[in-house]
């Protein structure tokens, strides 16, 4: 537990000194929101069934940028060797890196979601807010667990920046589809019962992929 916190602190400190990941994540996310708004046509009322998808496209694309940095940072000057030599289990590294990524995603979402609500004239009512946060957290959990595993893989290849989305997006399709469906229902003001089955699906995804990523991470990081 102490080790996890140490790694998280190190990564966050690094990020807040250089502000590399978060700046590009936020800027890119806002860029996607603006471009898609223009592509659909400004001045039109966009239905929640479409805007729910746009929100998650923006968040997923910006989150991939942050994910890419998590291990390529360690590759510079071969810091990863030091991390592996230290008496820390690979599983601990996995949890720590996953948490860092989770935190980055939340920070990005805190900016991106209000921007989205303004640009797309959407609103989340106060009583829907807890469910909205639950949807967001479920996606973040699934994304950061399988994302951490695959970013460890992609950082070990010769084309690491393009490998990550190629590997990650096909795996994430069911999670994204379920989250988009749930968000669209929520934004159009439906009750929980309308999208509960989608939430169960995201929970199943999170559970299965957290487990398999946790178990497989050791094999990946030792080869890196």
């Amino acid at each position: 537990m102490k080790n996890i916190i140490t790694i998280i602190k190190k990564d966050l400190k690094m990020e807040f000194r250089k502000r590399e990941s978060l700046t590009s994540m936020l800027f890119f996310g806002i860029l996607v929101l603006v471009i898609l708004n223009i592509a659909i046509g400004t001045g039109q009322k966009i239905a929640p069934s479409i805007s729910g998808g746009i929100l998650w496209v923006a968040i997923i694309f910006s989150a991939v940028l942050g994910l890419d940095r998590v291990f390529s940072n360690e590759k510079e000057n071969r810091c990863i060797d030091g991390l592996l030599l230290s008496p820390i289990e690979p599983e601990t590294i996995f949890i720590a890196k996953m948490t860092v990524n989770f935190i980055f995603m939340i920070i990005a979402e805190i900016i991106l979601i209000p921007t989205f609500l303004v640009l797309y004239n959407s609103a989340v009512s106060f009583e829907n807010l807890p469910m909205f946060i639950a949807i967001i957290m479920l996606l973040n959990l699934g994304f950061s667990s399988v994302g951490t595993l695959l970013s460890a893989i992609s950082s070990g290849t010769s084309r690491n920046d393009i490998m990550l989305p190629i590997l990650l997006f096909p795996i994430l399709i069911p999670l994204i589809a379920a989250t988009v469906k749930a968000t669209s229902e929520l934004l159009s003001g439906s009750g929980v019962d309308k999208y509960l089955s989608w939430l169960y699906l995201t929970m199943a995804f999170d559970f299965i992929f957290f487990g398999s990523s946790y178990l497989l991470f050791e094999h990946v990081i030792k080869e890196g």
């Binding site: 399988v146 096909p170 995804f205 497989l216 094999h219 080869e223």
Partner: protein, 221 residues
């Protein structure tokens, strides 16, 4: 190997004869329905390939023996080719019957996403040079790719389905003559699969050996 090839050729000829001359033409769909005798065996063998890749991936991570990696790789390669054919034959059939090339039905969606996942696997394989690393990374990808399949299927099923259900709870909804043709086509395709697997895995083994000998020569020089 030669006998296997000739048996497979005979099986295919027999299957084609049964499909076009023995089984009656389907009442509603007409001649287009014949594509089904190729579509279903292709789907079965492609799914079987990915399952095998998943098993070989686990075996590689447990035993760290390079042969499991090569088996896994050639299963995925064959699987991707077969899935491509599944998607093409399905589209050809869907155009006259469903009046659309493509629809987001659970089985179609699952097949397409499987195709995407395993093409990503092949791209990953191309971009790594060191053998040990490549084997581990690809094994991990083969495992999580296959783990994704049930989730993909259930997520797509939350939308409605229009795919004809031919096999359901142990019984097959087909006329007996159609069943026979399908069975023969299935056996023929699995025999073809075995040939492809044999040839491809031999090539990969030889490749690995050449690389090893090459490295040895370089060391000595």
């Amino acid at each position: 190997m030669k006998t296997l090839v000739s048996i497979t050729a005979a099986l295919f000829l027999a299957a084609i004869y049964l499909i076009f001359f023995y089984t009656p033409t389907e009442a509603v769909m007409g001649l287009v329905q014949k594509i089904f005798y190729f579509h279903l065996p292709l789907a079965f063998t492609s799914f079987f390939s990915f399952f095998l890749a998943f098993i070989c991936g686990i075996l590689y991570l447990v035993k760290k023996d390079a042969k499991w990696d090569l088996y896994s790789a050639c299963s995925v390669e064959i699987g991707v080719v077969l899935t491509t054919l599944v998607l093409i034959t399905g589209s050809l059939w869907a155009r006259p019957i469903w009046n659309t090339w493509w629809t987001w039905d659970p089985r179609l969606t699952t097949a397409l996403i499987l195709w995407l996942i395993y093409v990503a696997y092949l791209i990953l394989r191309m971009s790594i040079e060191q053998e040990g690393k490549r084997a581990s990374f690809c094994a991990v990808m083969a495992i999580i790719g296959f783990v994704d399949v049930p989730i993909v299927f259930f997520s797509a099923r939350l939308w409605r389905t229009i795919h004809p259900v031919v096999i359901e709870k142990g019984k097959i909804n087909l006329a007996p003559s159609m069943k026979l043709s399908l069975l023969l086509a299935m056996i023929a395709f699995f025999a073809l699969w075995a040939i492809l697997f044999r040839i491809r895995s031999q090539t990969l083994f030889l490749n690995a050996r050449i690389k090893k000998l090459n490295n040895k020569l370089l060391e000595e020089a």
